[in-house]
Amino acid sequence: MSQSSQALGRYQLSQLDSLEAEGIYIMREVAAEFERPVLLFSGGKDSVVMLHLAQKAFAPGPIPFPVMHVDTGHNFPEVIEFRDRRVAEAGVRLIVASVQEQIDAGKVTEPTGRWASRNRLQTAALLEAIEEHNITAAFGGARRDEEKARAKERVFSFRDEFGQWDPKSQRPELWNIFNTRINPGEHIRVFPLSNWTELDIWGYIAREKIELPDIYFAHSRQVFERDGILLADNPYVNRDDSEEVFEATVRYRTVGDMTCTGAVRSTATEIEDVITEIAATRITERGQTRADDRTSEAAMEDRKREGYF
């Protein structure tokens, strides 16, 4: 617990301490009740916080489940390097579900066009890996403050044998009691960060001194602008000649595919600066930096129904 909680009354927890206690409780509940859980780890800040919570939940023992990354093949190289290092430090096994392999095997088709992105293909790779490894529970880093379809999703979110989410038949969640029962072939997505906001995540990263991939902090990068989003110039994106590349000082607010994750202009090189910027920003992180959520009003909801994160 942080020293700052001293400012609160006796027997009161600060919001970060309450959220941490809840997250740890959820992780232990999963480890106790599911045979083959996995933690979805992308190297993005939310999944980094999840991994940190998992280390805390089972200390001094090791994390009793592997982590899994759905690799589109279009990730930032800095993030992949970070992923491998962090996984080694935590002493957990990494399962990589590869979108490239799915494409090579002809199971999915590479999208084409201006906004072509492998983002949506992640669903197929994820579901196949869940099936192949017989996964019964998968921790995801989604937060309810992120997006409106997520505001209604349960902490323990049931998926049928097709991996689908049915928002109309969700299990009610009461007190801190979670219904973990499933039949073979079904699984549960578990969201231990459901009640965290973006600022809570950053506040916690600062407090716990959690390491993040460098791209979350201001750096200089070759970018171009498309529909108001700053995209990194990279080999996977179809850029036309009118889209001019220039150098800018940017950082990332979310970390996804290079093809659809936008950067924000920023000079924040330290975590405190990032927090100051985030506290002042008036645009949601997904709205500002994720092209995948802009396709329609209900983009996230549609993807979630299919089995997306």
Binding site: K148, A151, I177
Partner: protein
């Protein structure tokens, strides 16, 4: 950053202004981002509405946006320099009871909205009753649309009196009345100049200042064992024999050196240390997640309970409880066999008897009852295959609450609150 969290549920009949109120709280606390507002403005315009409909901010799923209704509990977040808030936004349509019970189960406070023009409705009584059934410690009756009754003190007092009379039948510990206009913002964030006769706090001020630290049970030590940590590190002398009992404190204050009792064995030992990943702590209380090391080697597993020798929960197989039935597909009938999950323990259970059904509008008890259907509440008698370590729900929400699961469909079919156990 050192603020605490207040979780509250909002309830109201359709059109009482719940979405407008939440939209205003989010908007005035600057929790709405520009792109969210843009999208709401766009949707308002396509629908041909004149004003930006703040209610749209809280309508999440496509089906709901299309039908213009809210169908499930949704959670919203906002913060002020004093507190962080989590709103369980419980919709006022069909499924109401189920949603409200779900939202209220974790809440420190409930806001029940009443339309000042219409006064107390059957639904307002029901919402207030459900909040007290779930033992939500603080209840706020927000009398909304005061602008439409000329900010009349008399109207406010009438509703307040009528509700106070009704409230004597309920188990209310802390009740506050606030006259507001969600649409215009009166008494939502700032005290309203339109109602100088009102001397109480604004709604937000009340939410920021209501005292909740003592609402959790700090008297009865209850530590449901959730997970046993055994690192199995043969080569590490420190950890070779390590065995820690991990869990979230459900009641009382635990300290190193305390004498504790393990249930079901009844064996006593001492707490050696209370461990967290950040080092040992000198005390643990709800809702902290910690790991206990005990002085003696006792066979302890998930589902067991650690308490104090002179203050034990009931080890009960026969339990009387209030049930809220939540299944669409199945009815509850006597002799129904189900699965019960209580703290970290799961067992089989049979419903012996339905004692009565409670009319949530009139609080009338109907003893001539043979079944409970969706959204009905009743008192039942249960027989569990193995002892559960329970307290009366009134004493502790975490050790008095449980869920029932249908083994065929794996769905959660009921929420239960222990009234009596032996």
């Amino acid at each position: 950053m050192s603020t605490d969290i207040l979780r509250f549920a909002t309830a109201g009949s359709v059109d009482d202004g719940k979405s407008t109120l939440i939209g205003r709280l989010l908007y005035d606390s600057k929790s709405i981002f520009e792109d969210q507002l843009d999208s709401v403005e766009r949707t308002s315009r396509t629908r041909g509405e004149e004003q930006t409909n703040l209610a749209l901010l809280t309508d999440g799923l496509r089906a709901e946006r299309e039908q213009g209704i809210t169908i499930d509990v949704a959670y919203r977040y906002f913060a002020t320099p004093r507190r962080t808030f989590i709103i369980a936004d419980t919709p006022g349509h069909i499924q109401y009871t189920r949603n409200m019970v779900t939202g209220a189960s974790n809440s420190d406070l409930a806001v029940v909205l009443v339309d000042a023009r219409k006064g107390l409705q059957e639904q307002s009584r029901r919402h207030a009753f459900l909040a007290t059934l779930l033992q939500v410690p603080h209840l706020v009756l927000a009398i909304n649309k005061m602008d439409l009754v000329d900010y009349s003190q008399q109207r406010f007092e009438e509703i307040k009196e009528e509700f106070s009379a009704f409230a004597t039948k309920l188990d209310v510990t802390d009740l506050t009345f606030i006259p507001i206009s969600a649409l215009h913002g009166d008494n939502v964030v700032d005290r309203s100049l339109n109602m100088p006769w009102y001397e109480g706090p604004s709604l937000l001020h009340h939410l920021e200042h209501v005292h909740i630290a003592s609402d959790r049970n700090l008297k009865d030590v209850r530590f449901p064992v959730q997970y046993v940590i055994r690192p199995h590190k043969a080569d590490d002398p420190e950890l070779h024999d390590f065995r820690g009992y991990a869990g979230q404190v459900a009641g009382g204050v635990l300290k190193p050196g305390d004498e504790v009792m393990h249930l079901p064995s009844g064996l006593t030992t001492h707490i050696d240390a209370i461990i967290t990943a950040d080092g040992d702590v000198q005390e643990a209380f709800s809702p902290m997640s910690v790991t206990l090391r005990l002085a003696d080697d006792i066979d302890i597993s998930r589902g067991d309970m650690i308490c104090r020798p002179n203050n034990k929960p009931h080890a009960a197989q026969d339990i009387d409880a209030m049930l809220c039935w939540m299944s669409e597909g199945r009815k509850l009938t006597p002799r129904s066999k189900l699965v019960i999950k209580h703290t970290t323990r799961t067992a089989k259970v049979m419903v012996r008897d339905i004692l009565y059904r409670l009319d949530v509008n009139t609080l009338h008890r109907d003893e001539d009852v043979s079944e409970l259907v969706l959204n009905e509440i009743g008192r039942v008698n249960l027989r569990v295959t193995q002892p559960l370590f329970v307290d009366e729900y009134q004493r502790n929400r975490l050790t008095g609450g449980f869920i029932l699961i249908d083994e065929g469909t794996n769905t959660t079919v009921a929420a239960g609150m222990v009234t009596q156990a032996n």
